[in-house]
């Protein structure tokens, strides 16, 4: 005769979880809810049969969704059969079952309470990768408990839901399999929800083929997650082969990678045929390495010799080169902090002419028809004859010009440290309008069909029309030094507040933003639906234009303050670590790097299979774009 459950009963078909303080079966005092899922709820409770001590238990509550009593009767019997089976288990890693009962539409399982953290929690609290040796030891322990379950008589017990959230490291540093009752749930719904957890479950589990191989796969998937930090639930299913663990965690030896790969084979027959077999493979691998050293020397990356990339030519200036070059009709134009703008022959590097301003040049020249436009820290925009290098006219602003000029529709658009965005008519040689903003404008304006976009040093981003009217504004928290670009109706720019912003170009609504580890003064560039930019955190990022998800990141040894460019299928970017990097743009793999003697703050330029980059070592380099290591 079962006592009446002392909880609030709801009249409708919904089920409310048990409240704290409820006495279940007149014996278990519910203290709190530990976890809820769609199938069950687990409570922490105190067993009142032992009033003189605090004996904690875990109570798992399951709802039987079957509406009519015949169906429910069958399910309850099935449930009890499975419970009986589990009650015969005795293993240090398996919580003991103390009690079970069914009340109305609920069935309860009372289990040993396990105190500790799940491996999922331990993983997420861990700043870097988990120590490989530790994960291997854990895996060996899990093989042992799986072997015990799989060889159980009269019938093997298959856990079915092995994953890091189901494994607890208790206070004695012992691994415990919890939520054990996944093997005990009511039959899943007919219209196709699953047992097991997506990402850790092998393909055959969906078809209802449950064998010991299911647990082997899940163990391999768990191991992969713990060692790579990549949650298989967030990756395409069955994609472990596409994400080899050594590419993610360099501490992993080929042996470990091979063991994981075997465990997660798509076909069940290709995996380890028993947990013992997997355990032997692990033990053998440990035995092979010297005194508990399980990971090899860091030899996975073959160092690319720096001196295999030879410049085609170099040009020496009297001071740093901080800005970027522009190429046009066989000539490359580059400004330097030595106040000069140089026009060099692209093939040979011979100087055609040089032009002197009265301030440092840190921006990029614009070329239109026969004129070269360049801003200087002498407050002026200089317009120079392309052929002769002589001055045609100048335009004065009231502060140093660090933004690069943008030519469009017969006008030059330019920012200045005088806080204004200037629009200058080219044929007339005079300014048309200037818009006062709230701070210096160092970002190069970007002009699309009918609007001018620019950011400033106080974090304001402007969209102006050609008459100088403000269409919309957007405020970020810190300076926007980089230049915007437009792709697929989105205007993209980075801010020192660590974000890459994507705003709707017409209305200024924020569609998405991407957070980097630190601020950025790089200008993003776009190719093939991918956005590329750098950050002061030293990374070059590749972000999907539509989903805003990171595709890859590449770590350099110091800040990135210039911007990347794309030529063909390669990305080029300089770093304050002095290197110019050439990466494959789809994968982020390093093709080669070229070392200069000082930080690179400029953005490279590309023309005709050549890459041009200036460094703060005063040199301007012309490199072959196709150099291979």
């Amino acid at each position: 005769m079962k006592p009446v459950m002392n909880t609030k009963q709801s009249n409708n078909s919904e089920d409310i979880s048990l409240q704290k303080g409820t006495r279940l079966s007149d014996r278990y005092l519910i203290q709190k809810t530990i976890s809820t899922s769609s199938r069950s709820t687990v409570y922490q409770a105190r067993d009142l049969l032992f009033p003189n001590v605090v004996k904690l238990v875990a109570v798992k509550e399951m709802v039987n969704p079957a509406p009519d009593s015949v169906d429910r009767e069958t399910k309850v019997k099935d449930f009890e059969r499975q419970v009986n089976l589990l009650a015969t288990l005795s293993h240090p890693s398996i919580p003991r079952i103390f009690d079970y009962f069914t009340q109305g539409r609920h069935s309860y399982l009372v289990l040993e309470y396990v105190q500790g953290e799940t491996l999922e929690t331990i993983l997420s609290n861990s700043p870097g990768f988990l120590p490989t040796e530790q994960v291997i030891q854990w895996t060996i322990g899990l093989c042992e408990v799986l072997q015990y379950l799989h060889s159980h008589q009269p019938e093997p017990v298959i856990f079915r839901d092995l994953n890091p959230s189901n494994i607890i490291l208790d206070q004695h540093n012992n691994l415990m399999l919890v939520d054990f009752g996944i093997a005990i749930t009511f039959q899943d719904m007919e219209d196709g929800s699953l047992s097991g957890t997506q990402g850790y479950s092998p393909p055959e589990q969906y078809q209802g083929e449950v064998s010991t191989q299911v647990d082997i796969y899940s163990l391999g998937a768990t191991m992969h997650h713990l060692l790579s930090g990549q949650d298989p639930r967030l990756e395409p299913q069955y994609s472990f082969a596409e994400r080899p663990i050594r590419q993610i965690n360099p501490d992993i030896s080929p042996d470990i990678e091979a063991i994981i790969a075997t465990a997660v084979q798509y076909q069940a027959s290709d995996r380890y045929q028993s947990a013992d077999e997997m355990k032997s493979a692990l033990l053998e691998m440990i035995g092979r390495s010297d005194s508990r050293q399980l990971s090899p020397q860091f030899d996975a990356v073959i160092p690319i010799p720096d001196n295999t990339i030879q410049p085609l030519w170099t040009f020496t200036c009297a001071d740093e080169i901080r800005g970027s070059a522009s190429c046009d009709r066989g000539i490359v134009y580059i400004g330097s902090y030595d106040n000069h703008l140089y026009a060099l022959n692209i093939e040979s590097g011979k100087m055609h002419w040089k032009y002197q301003t009265e301030g440092g040049i840190v921006s990029r020249p614009a070329i239109l028809n026969d004129s070269v436009f360049i801003g200087s820290e002498d407050n002026r925009l200089h317009v120079i004859s392309r052929r002769s290098g002589s001055l045609l006219w100048t335009y004065y602003t009231k502060g140093p010009v660090r933004s690069s000029p943008f030519a469009a529709h017969g006008h030059i658009f330019l920012g200045s440290d005088d806080w204004a965005i200037h629009a200058i008519n080219i044929s007339g040689g005079r300014g048309i309008w200037q818009i006062e903003t709230s701070s210096e404008v160092r970002s190069t304006p970007f002009v699309a069909q009918d609007a001018v976009y620019a950011g400033n040093e106080s974090g304001e981003f402007y969209c102006l029309d050609f008459r100088g009217g403000i269409k919309w504004r957007y405020k970020t928290k810190r300076a926007i030094t980089s230049s915007p670009t437009i792709a697929e109706n989105l205007v993209l720019f980075c801010s020192l507040d660590s974000h890459l912003y994507a705003l709707d170009a017409k209305s200024g609504y924020l569609v998405w933003r991407f957070k980097m580890d630190r601020g950025s003064i790089s200008s993003p560039c776009v190719a093939d639906g991918l956005i590329f930019t750098g950050s002061i955190d030293g990374n070059i990022y590749c972000i999907n234009l539509n989903t805003a998800k990171e595709v890859w990141r590449f770590q350099t040894e110091h800040q990135i303050t210039g911007s990347p460019i794309i030529l063909a299928d390669r990305l080029y970017c300089g770093s304050v670590d002095g290197n110019l990097y050439c990466l494959d743009h789809q994968t982020g793999q390093l093709r080669w790097k070229f070392k200069t003697n000082n930080p690179i703050t400029a953005t490279p330029a590309a023309q005709d299979d050549m890459i041009f980059i200036g460094s703060t070592d005063n040199q301007f380099y012309a490199l072959p774009a196709d150099a291979s290591g």
């Binding site: 929800s193 699953l194 395409p236 697929e488 200024g508 924020l510 569609v511 998405w512």
Partner: protein, 305 residues
Amino acid sequence: MSDFLKNILGSKGETESGGSSDQGTSDLPTQPNSSPVNSDSNPNSSNNPTRFNVGLVNSIGLQREHNEDALFAMTTYLISNNSSLPFGLYIIADGMGGHLHGEKASEVAIHAMAFGVLTKLLPAIQDLSGEIPSDTFQDIMKEGVQAAHQAIIEQAPGAGSTLTGILLLRDQMTIAHIGDSRAYAIDTQGNVNLLTTDHSLVKRLEELGQITSDEAAIHPQRNVLYRALGQAEMVDADLISAPVPNSGYLVLCSDGLWGVVPDDEMANIISSANSPQEASQTLLEAANSAGGPDNISVIIIEKSS
């Protein structure tokens, strides 16, 4: 402020919110032809006024006893910086769980998501001075999905649902998607572009080359989803932002439609109909003549400028 939303979402049968009606479109008060949204009326509007015409249908089909599909469609305009921008929010949810739970799951999911998204965007709808919300569209949609997931866990535990939603702002769309309902873009030439990926087991097997698409269509587990609301601890929706072409159609539908009406027939029906509402009705008839094995839902948004 919240009265505004309650009026829209509070109880069933409200403006263009598809509940669990058993018969075609008779319960829905939509008259999309008479209320296209455009920005013509605003003298400050941009050169090409964009309009959204919407048609929708939500039917139980011929063979099911319950309608587990739910729809939400809202078309209005947002005012910001002296311009009015056509805005739309369209969501479809296909519940699963049998025995009334599926119906409840899709219903609570739709309402939770719509409420979540609109609350964030409400300042821009109601406040004429045009406060731009500080959350990104992707974040707003992502949180909407989270709210829908939570709602199912709390109010229909054990059940699940698909969810596909589109947030449209003139010519920018953000899609949040989980499950095997679908979003399509159809251009004026009738070319069909599937915007979402089915989170179904058979789709994944197809991607891996384990089965062909013909095999997928008749696979016994073709209804098995590896991602859905209400089913796992975490919910991870796909989020995509992309521009919307100047003219054409966006279509949201449940597998009760795409599973029985081939893509080209669908495109044909839509482009040859006189209005999106007529197209939805014709699609319903097409699905029913193919047997109507499942609940059939579709939202068609015609964008014209």
